[in-house]
Symmetry: C2
Subunit: 324 residues, 2 copies
């Protein structure tokens, strides 16, 4: 797994550190009883490692000690993986990162417990840092993620198609953990309060932009690169920013509403993708993502000016230019 780490290009300068984080994840998984251990070894560290990279880079910007920084990075990735396992079960998503999701081969009950196990492991990793304030941020982040997602599930139908609800969801799903990652890294390095706040703001805005791009790529991306079916959000009847912007300007639309209101087959989904992509909604969504990246880079400029900060700047730009 570690030999084949598929890092986003801006992270190449910190490949050795990311290999170390991936190694920590694998070592943790090796100690887990079977069959959970094998399963988690095949899942952990298999993504882009964006969140642990944020921890490592923000920590380096403030010259945090390396060993606890890597532990924190691993903890954040473990928490992220736990929430993915539960989210994929909740959303009945069949594929993630080009692989079958856990609940497709495991019973739902075991899948719930596998996620719980990782939640506990991530807390244990943070507890090992012996800085209770980090654990408070960590736990509160998970609380925010849960209440945000639950709030969205219980929203009235008319609210589902609002920008407010869209932002609530992506803040809960992505921005809150990215913000916690950068905030905790700054805290670990004992950065001063205004700098901790700037680090948090950077992670938050970057997280929002990252999720908007994910939602755009679900319309425009190449299936092989994405590791999932195109239009998978539409297939799950999930309104994301591109379809939301399209619907805002297309009151007479039938094509997209048909897919969102019922079990759309492949042909209908394809027509809906084309309608959204031909409407200018994608360009508008990209502009919004770019605006959040601008905010992120502004917050970043308050951090000490050094090589890790330059890498974070490039990473932010990559987030809105990536193809997968």
């Amino acid at each position: 797994m570690t030999a084949a780490l598929r890092l986003p290009p801006p992270l190449e300068p910190i490949r050795p550190e990311m290999v170390q984080v991936a190694w920590l994840l694998q070592e943790m998984a090796k100690k887990i009883e079977e069959p959970l251990g094998s399963m988690l070894r095949s899942i952990l560290g298999g993504g882009k490692l964006l969140r642990p990279a944020l921890v490592v880079l923000v920590g380096q910007t403030f010259t945090a000690p390396q060993e606890p920084l890597h532990d924190l990075a691993a903890a954040v990735e473990v928490l992220h993986t736990a929430t993915l396992i539960h989210d994929d079960l909740v959303d009945e998503a069949p594929i993630r990162r080009g692989r079958e999701t856990l609940h497709m081969s495991w019973p739902a009950g075991a899948t719930v417990l596998a996620g719980d196990y990782l939640l506990a492991q991530s807390a244990a990793l943070v507890a090992g840092l012996e800085r209770p304030i980090l654990l408070k941020v960590f736990a509160e982040t998970l609380c925010t993620m849960c209440t945000g997602e639950i709030g969205q599930m219980f929203a009235a139908p008319e609210e589902q198609f609002s920008r407010e609800m869209y932002y609530l969801r992506i803040e809960a799903k992505t921005a809150s953990l990215c913000a916690a990652a950068t905030e905790m890294a700054a805290m670990l390095a004992e950065a001063e309060e205004p700098l901790v706040a700037a680090a948090r703001r950077f992670g938050w805005e970057l997280g929002i932009a990252f999720q908007i791009m994910d939602d755009v790529l679900d319309f425009t991306g190449d299936e092989a690169r994405l590791g999932k079916l195109a239009g998978s959000d539409l297939r799950q009847r999930l309104v994301t920013l591109p379809s939301l912007l399209y619907l805002e300007q297309s009151e007479s639309d039938v094509v997209v509403r048909t897919v969102l209101s019922g079990p759309g087959d492949g042909e209908h989904v394809q027509a809906a993708i084309e309608a959204v992509c031909g409407s200018g909604a994608i360009e508008d969504a990209l502009a919004m993502a770019q605006a959040h990246i601008g905010q992120a880079q502004q917050a970043l400029s308050q951090l000490p000016d050094n090589v890790p900060r330059q890498i974070l700047h490039s990473l932010a730009q990559y987030v809105v230019e990536r193809k997968r």
Copy 2:
């Protein structure tokens, strides 16, 4: 909720402390966003409060400071509630404590997230104690609970009917958290290591006896008192100690095996309950529970001799004499 706390009789002397713990739980729930907040207010603190009582009493035995002790007690009950929510979803249990379980009225996804939220809250409560070692015990306990339950789910069919597998399950389900409760309470009070180990042993043995009794009451108990259907384990095709002991001595049995191997209707379940109850298996199971309580009381005798220890002694006896 707090006014109507239904405490087991031996806990009456610490009713004020238990009311305080229940109040902490309600205050926590009040701060949670809707609809999760209302839902959790109706669930939290609704059980026997055995685990938080173990924390309070063991802590008192070692004269631990009151405020953090109550926070720890609340944290343990929150963790317990989180695992119940996930377990009831996994087991598709319709009723708990005389009420419909959460997943019966909420979507499965929101139920998973509600459990996750409580896991995070319990970690936050322990983090607030600013004693990282407590959080390590806490997180490792949840890990043990998860791997134990997963291990049991993946066990081969021939293993399902073994005492080994039964013990593995009840250790994961009940003993590990009771042991963590008493261990952490002793740690919080800065008790010396051999006494921490004795406290842990007490909780462990008491937890095993408690679960055996729960499994016995599922055969012999009064439905109104239990707050669930009698024979609910059999209905879920779950082998517990009474049916296990019965099967060990009844090789030619058809009645119980029929229920355990397929969707038994009410009549078959009733016949199976009667077969087990008439076989001496209940008496054997009770004797085993009593033996574990003997072990628990022996461990308890190593703790300082005072009023809280006397209450723990009575509580241990109550565990195997209770009717609900």
